[in-house]
């Protein structure tokens, strides 16, 4: 068996049903081995999108997504996708072709040191030097990528190693000496957490992306309902908890919900579950959590104390830690009732900001559009976003009802992520509608994936809030640079309806709320991708806003 055939067989053994990729000189043997293989290949138009598709697939399927690229530029094109997956702990296995062994280090045509380049943005990178290593390497790649705190893994295979033949052995189990992810939490730490939570008068749960990664939705909800305490999330954790739940308060952070940013500062005990206290979520590390006790649950020991010193640290899979915590607490707790002052405060804050934050005065606005979208989408629809104002509006106004149906490039903030990632999500769960809540600036970056969506019959909805601006940059220039605009105008170019049509997709322009409603309904019935072009006012800002480097208490509400 050749190395290339062994690779494909090993992928089939891992249960991979789809691979996103683009061929080139150094991975020709792999593409040859794909002919007749028992897995689907989705041909992309740019390798960056292949990595984002694999990422989107992984986030919905909760197992590794796979992408292929050739050596040199093919490999460097996936780096943004790997960095995106790394920042958001998403399991992606990338397989790149490499120049033949004897050419490595000779500056050969399309040679690049992708092992070196990808090092800071992968969990690990392999370069098998003999064909016989390939089955074990693939097994290890999936194990490392999917277990513990997930992340991207690269497998770089020199062309002659793909071509060489060997007697292959496909292991079912694998051990990696230096890699032993913690899963079960330390019980004594859970005991201390119980004490702190019972003592607290104003406890709050801050749920992060770890809850989504471990699928700990029922456990989180059980804990919140047992204690009857408010739940905020980080942006990465958005949708870890149903946002229409009577205890939900939505995301905190730079563009978090005002009431969430306010209430977390009033808490006396924070239970952070699978969250990493990023600057984007908590503002200044030194100001956040002052005078409160903090309990931190995470699977990654290195997250404990990285940004924030905590009182109790529970290292382990948050799903099992939460389950134990619920079991221990349920014996000791007396339930709060709705008249509890802390729960009353929650209601008060929500009401206050509902009345204070004014709607932008236009017939069609980002906020109204997104609320309409939510109203018309089924609860189990999947939503992802591009990056910028569109992303933050989605965070603020798109309530996730079914946990785990929302994701975004929250860590790296990769423009152009949402559209290909939505195609990957559609491949993972074809039976539900998938929407990319987009802005024109980001959509420009990967819009050629329309070809993939149409030809591969993976129809998604691009919900394009179009201000022909790099809107978030423009907002910062309005706020911090005295309205001196620089490099943000897109000058009404291109026509997105025509772009959609050029690819054989459906393009609809919606200039009123009535037109928008029709467009969404049409898109939901369509069997090709639909781009809904929604012209919005370029002066519409995202509020609230916590300026970078300041603390949550200095939130600007725009009121």
């Amino acid at each position: 068996m050749t190395g290339a055939k062994a690779l494909i067989h090993a992928l089939e053994k891992e249960g991979v049903d789809v691979v996103f990729g683009l061929p080139g000189g150094a991975n020709l043997p792999i593409y040859d081995a794909l002919v007749g293989a028992n897995l689907r290949h989705v041909l992309v138009r740019h390798e960056q999108s292949a990595a984002h598709m694999a990422d989107g697939y992984a986030r919905i399927k909760r197992k590794a997504g796979v992408c292929f690229a050739t050596s040199g530029p093919g490999a460097t094109n996936i780096v943004t996708g790997l960095a995106t997956a790394y920042a958001d702990s998403s399991p992606v296995v990338a397989v790149t072709g490499q120049v033949p062994l004897a050419m490595i280090g000779k500056d050969a045509f399309q040679e690049t040191d992708i092992i070196g380049i990808s090092n800071p943005c992968t969990k690990y990178a392999f370069q098998p030097r003999t064909a016989v290593e390939i089955p074990e390497t693939v097994k290890k790649a999936f194990y490392i990528s999917e277990s513990g705190r997930p992340g991207p893994v690269l497998v770089d295979i020199p062309k002659d190693v793909q071509q060489a033949t060997a007697d292959m052995h496909f292991p079912d189990l694998i051990k990696v000496r230096g890699y032993n992810p913690t899963t079960d939490a330390d019980m004594s730490e859970i005991g201390r957490a119980v004490e702190l939570l019972l003592k607290a008068e104003r406890p709050i749960i801050m749920a992060g992306g770890g809850v989504i990664l471990s699928g700990a939705f029922p456990e989180l909800q059980a804990l919140a309902e047992l204690m009857m305490i408010p739940v905020v999330t980080t942006f990465k954790g958005k949708g870890a908890f149903p946002e229409n739940h009577p205890l939900a308060m939505g995301p905190i952070g730079m563009h978090g919900h005002a009431e969430a940013n306010k209430i977390i500062l009033e808490a006396d005990c924070i239970l952070a579950v699978g969250a990493r206290f990023s600057d984007r979520s908590v503002g200044r590390f030194d100001e956040f959590g002052k005078g409160m006790s903090i309990i931190h649950m995470d699977i990654d020991p290195a997250e404990i104390g990285k940004n924030k010193s905590v009182d109790v640290a529970i290292v382990g899979d948050v799903k099992s830690s939460l389950r134990t915590l619920v079991k221990w607490l349920s014996k000791k707790i007396t339930k709060r009732d709705a008249e509890d002052p802390w729960l009353r405060r929650r209601k008060e804050l929500i009401q206050y900001y509902q009345e204070t934050i004014k709607d932008y005065p236009r017939e069609i606005t980002a906020k109204k559009s997104i609320k309409k979208l939510r109203e018309l989408l089924p609860a189990n629809a999947i939503a992802t976003t591009e990056v910028g104002q569109c992303q933050m509006w989605a965070s603020l106004h798109f309530d996730v009802i079914t946990p785990g149906t929302f994701f975004s490039s929250t860590g790296l903030g990769t423009m152009g992520f949402g559209f290909p990632a939505s195609i990957g999500a559609k491949a993972a769960r074809p039976q539900v509608p998938v929407v990319d809540i987009a802005g024109d600036g980001s959509f420009n970056m990967t819009e050629n994936s329309l070809a993939v969506s149409v030809l591969e019959k993976l129809p998604v909805i691009v919900f394009l809030m179009n201000n022909y601006m790099l809107g978030m940059v423009a907002q910062w220039q309005r706020t911090f640079y005295n309205r001196r605009y620089s490099g943000v105008h897109q000058h009404r170019c291109p026509d997105y309806v025509k772009i959609a049509e050029a690819y054989g997709a459906q393009g609809i322009r919606a200039q009123s709320m009535a037109e928008l409603e029709n467009a969404i309904k049409t898109a939901l019935k369509s069997d090709v991708a639909t781009v809904i072009d929604i012209p919005i006012d370029p002066d519409e800002d995202v509020y609230p806003f916590v300026a970078p480097g300041s603390s949550l208490k200095d939130m600007i509400t725009g009121a």
Partner: protein
């Protein structure tokens, strides 16, 4: 990250294969960890290398350094050595200007007090090999600076826990 704080010795067992040193030093660069010295060599097990890292750091940064090292797939074990319960040594080669006989005999005296060896004598230079803790090497260096050090090479610290401790 920090110029203040205490001096620590971190001992790591790592996979003995290509690219491991790169991964570790790249981590230090990316996370802004400052290290004083790093040594790598084979161990009693042929597939493992021992890496000894010395760093001046505060406790919080040290904690992160250790945790981030442990996260690396190629790193099998990481320990912060207690300097009171460990043996640690560094080797230095120091070449000095030594033309006149008085200087030469002074250098030979100092070297003998510090249990160093004269390993090379040229027409105008002498080279001393000295082994010990970094402090001892610093002390010797400052003693012979007056003669004019023309070249100096230090290995960085190698360390092991004392006695039966692993």
């Amino acid at each position: 990250m920090s110029q203040n704080g205490s001096w620590y010795i971190v001992s790591a067992l790592v996979e003995n294969k290509p690219g491991v040193l790169f991964r570790i030093t790249n981590l230090f660069r990316a996370r802004n960890f400052n290290i004083d010295s790093i040594t790598v060599g084979i161990t009693e097990q042929p597939d493992l290398s021992r890496m000894t890292i010395t760093t001046k750091s505060d406790e919080k940064t040290l904690d992160q350094l250790v945790k981030q090292l442990r996260k690396l797939i190629d790193v099998v074990e990481v320990k912060v050595l207690d300097t009171d319960k460990s043996v640690f040594r560094e080797l230095a080669l120091i070449k000095m200007k030594a033309v006149d006989p008085t200087t030469r005999s002074e250098i030979m005296n100092y070297a003998s007090v510090f249990r160093g060896n004269i390993i090379d004598i040229g027409k105008e230079t002498m080279t001393v090999e000295i082994t010990g803790t970094p402090d001892k090497i610093d002390a010797f260096k400052s003693l012979v600076e007056q003669y004019g050090i023309t070249q100096l090479a230090r290995t960085g610290v190698s360390a092991l826990p004392r006695g039966a401790e692993l």
